[in-house]
């Protein structure tokens, strides 16, 4: 029997038992679709998180005051905890040859009022460098300038939401708002940025850092954001910042430098693992689909015992019967795999339409892997029933009704 012929014979019986073929395929279809859909979901979650962090920039070091450590004994009376100051920021800026930008930040909340409308918002005291470091830009007007900082001017830049809430559609540029009871002139409106890490970027008000210190009556900083010129220099940048600040703080390491990228990469590792786990769970359903194929093929062999007897009587060898049944199961699994891929991809697209916030995406490896696996399942679970069919005794098979 030539190769073409057993393909023909196998397709004959698949066509004749259309409903059963379809139902058998269903197990594999669901399995493959589940693998693709769940992996896409895992990938989507990762993409979502990545997007959330994208605004932060992966080349940022965050310097915060205070050292996270465990100390023994009672606190020494009179020991002063060093703050982060604008001086620290200036040192980093001047001597940090690896840094692209250094942005000191003061943080506080205050009531912002315009005429009879008021809103409680977060106030960020920043320098012009903040724009580049955090990748946030004004849409209308201008951002805070160097002179605004030095002269402690009472000017502010409004986030999109703040502007809309206070001014509606009216022009805000050049108007004065009251921040914590003090008059500020609006010099710019930020572009729309959305929510990042639970903070509504659009619901912020930016003022010059020195002005903010005065406003909140503090002389320290909330944090210093440092962007590194080259991503590969994150670690050496951290060392540089540490040594510079230690020198300024009398050799005390009373600050903490966090590497944004390090935190992200461990988070991504977790999300990748999640994707694999989801894919693995789905693969189990594919395996169950394969067992379904074996189940049906065993029933088929039983049911078609007479047919096998007839084929053997007219000259089919064991190998011919084996190949026929093996090809049937493989064809079922392969067809199931293809339909499953289509269903999975369609499902992923439907999900994208239903939940636009979740950027699901289908990695090529999930398609390749689930397809290969489904073909493998067809062969693997087809072998036993096919062997059973091939080894039937022709006389008994003919007698079987």
């Amino acid at each position: 029997m030539t190769r073409i012929d057993f393909v023909e014979v196998a397709f004959d019986s698949l066509r004749i038992n259309r409903l059963r073929s379809a139902l058998t395929m269903l197990g594999v279809i669901i399995g493959v679709a589940a693998v693709i859909l769940l992996v896409a979901l895992g990938q989507g979650t990762k993409n979502y998180v990545e997007e959330q962090f994208a605004g932060l920039g992966s080349n940022i070091l965050i310097v915060t005051p205070g050292k996270i450590e465990t100390k023994g004994g009672p606190p020494i009376i009179g020991s002063v905890r060093h703050k982060l100051t604008l001086n620290d920021s200036r040192i980093l800026e001047k001597k940090g040859y690896l840094f692209a930008g250094v942005a000191p930040v003061v943080f506080g909340t205050a009531e912002v009022r315009y005429q009879n409308r008021s809103r409680n918002v977060s106030i960020l005291g920043v320098t012009p460098a903040f724009q580049e470091v955090r990748n946030l830009h004004v849409e209308i007007g201008s951002f805070l300038g160097e002179a605004d900082v030095d002269a402690r001017r009472r000017v502010c830049v409004l986030g999109r939401t703040v502007k809309r809430e206070l001014f509606g559609n009216a022009n805000a540029l050049g108007q004065t708002v009251k921040v914590a009871g003090t008059l500020f002139r609006v010099v710019g409106i930020m572009e729309k940025k959305g929510i990042s890490l639970g903070i509504d970027i659009d619901d912020l008000v930016f003022v010059p850092v020195r002005t903010a210190q005065e406003l909140f009556d503090i002389d320290g900083l909330f944090e210093i954001l440092v962007s590194v010129r080259n991503k590969n220099d994150l670690n050496s940048g951290k060392e540089l910042a540490t040594s510079l600040l230690k020198r300024a703080h009398n050799r005390n390491e009373d600050f903490t430098i966090t590497n944004q990228a390090a935190i992200l990469s461990s988070l991504y590792t977790i999300l990748d693992t999640l994707t694999y786990v989801l894919g693995g769970i789905a693969a189990i359903s594919l395996l169950v689909g394969g067992i379904g194929i074996m189940n049906i093929m065993l029933v088929t062999v039983k049911e078609r015992t007479n047919e096998i007897g007839i084929r053997k009587a007219v000259g089919a060898r064991n190998r011919d019967i084996l190949l026929q049944f093996l090809f049937e199961s493989t064809a079922l699994a392969t067809a199931g795999g293809i339909v499953g891929i289509l269903a999975g991809v369609a499902g992923a697209y439907a999900l994208r339409l239903l939940v636009p916030k979740l950027p699901v995406s289908i990695p090529a490896w999930s398609i390749l892997l689930s397809f290969t696996f489904s073909v493998f399942v067809g062969v693997f679970f087809g072998v036993y029933p096919a062997k059973k069919a091939a080894s039937l005794n022709p006389i008994e098979a003919l007698r079987y009704e």
Partner: protein, 238 residues
């Protein structure tokens, strides 16, 4: 083939015994059977049910091998052949016609007739051509695309004959071919078999019906797994 037949019989059984393992002991299917069938013969095998007719037919058809004794087709022994070699032998040398037709259900008549050619490795077009020829010979050319379950009993059996003959076997083996047919279809079928034999096909017919057996040129009688004379057979049958 005809001239060969004079010296060498087509089929030769020598001391063929077939034993079956059955529960507690062994059941004798055939006991020391000697039989020669020449090419072109029309032989009926008669015997009551359980006499060993089916066992003899299975051995003649190479579906089974003897426990002891020798069986030769065209001078070649089938002893020790693997199941696959037996399949190839059946494919080339033997055409079967069964009482219950044994056609593939839900396949067309043509597909059924093609079946032996598929396993003989005949290319697709030649297969279809030869199968159609054989269907024409039994007068069913116009039924080629009919599914077997749409055919009458007589038509089914004619499709089975076409299938049996399509690979030009040495022997047509018919097991109670009229058993499931009405009288008229049965008569028609016997006409076909007689005609085939007249054109040179060797036919071995297994039956328990004396009227059918009478159509053959020679009848062998089997009782309790042994070949017996016609007188002995009548005696036993009462």
């Amino acid at each position: 083939m005809g001239s060969e037949a004079a010296s060498e019989p087509l089929l030769r059984l020598r001391g063929v015994t077939k034993l079956y393992e059955a529960g507690a002991g062994r059941v004798v299917g055939l006991s020391d059977v000697d039989l020669e069938i020449g090419a072109g013969e029309f032989v009926a095998v008669m015997g009551p049910s359980g006499s060993g007719k089916s066992t003899l037919m299975n051995i003649l058809g190479c579906l089974d091998v003897p426990t002891s004794g020798t069986y030769e087709i065209k001078g070649k022994s089938v002893a020790g052949l693997s199941p696959d070699r037996l399949s190839e032998l059946r494919n080339r040398e033997i055409g079967f016609v069964f009482q219950v037709f044994h056609l593939l259900p839900r396949h067309t008549a043509l597909r059924n007739v093609e079946l032996p050619l598929i396993y003989a490795g005949v290319p697709r077009e030649e297969r279809a051509r030869r199968a159609l020829e054989e269907l024409r010979a039994v007068g069913l050319e116009d039924r080629k695309e009919h599914l077997t379950n749409e055919l009458s009993g007589g038509q089914k059996q004619r499709v089975a004959i076409a299938r049996a003959l399509v690979n030009k076997p040495s022997l047509l083996l018919a097991d109670e071919p009229t058993g499931n047919l009405d009288t008229r279809s049965g008569d028609e079928l016997m006409e076909i078999l007689a005609g085939l034999n007249a054109s040179g096909v060797t036919v071995v017919l297994v039956t328990h019906d004396p009227a059918i057996a009478r159509r053959a040129h020679r009848t062998v009688y089997i009782v309790d797994g042994k070949l017996v004379s016609v007188e002995r057979f009548r005696e036993i049958r009462g």
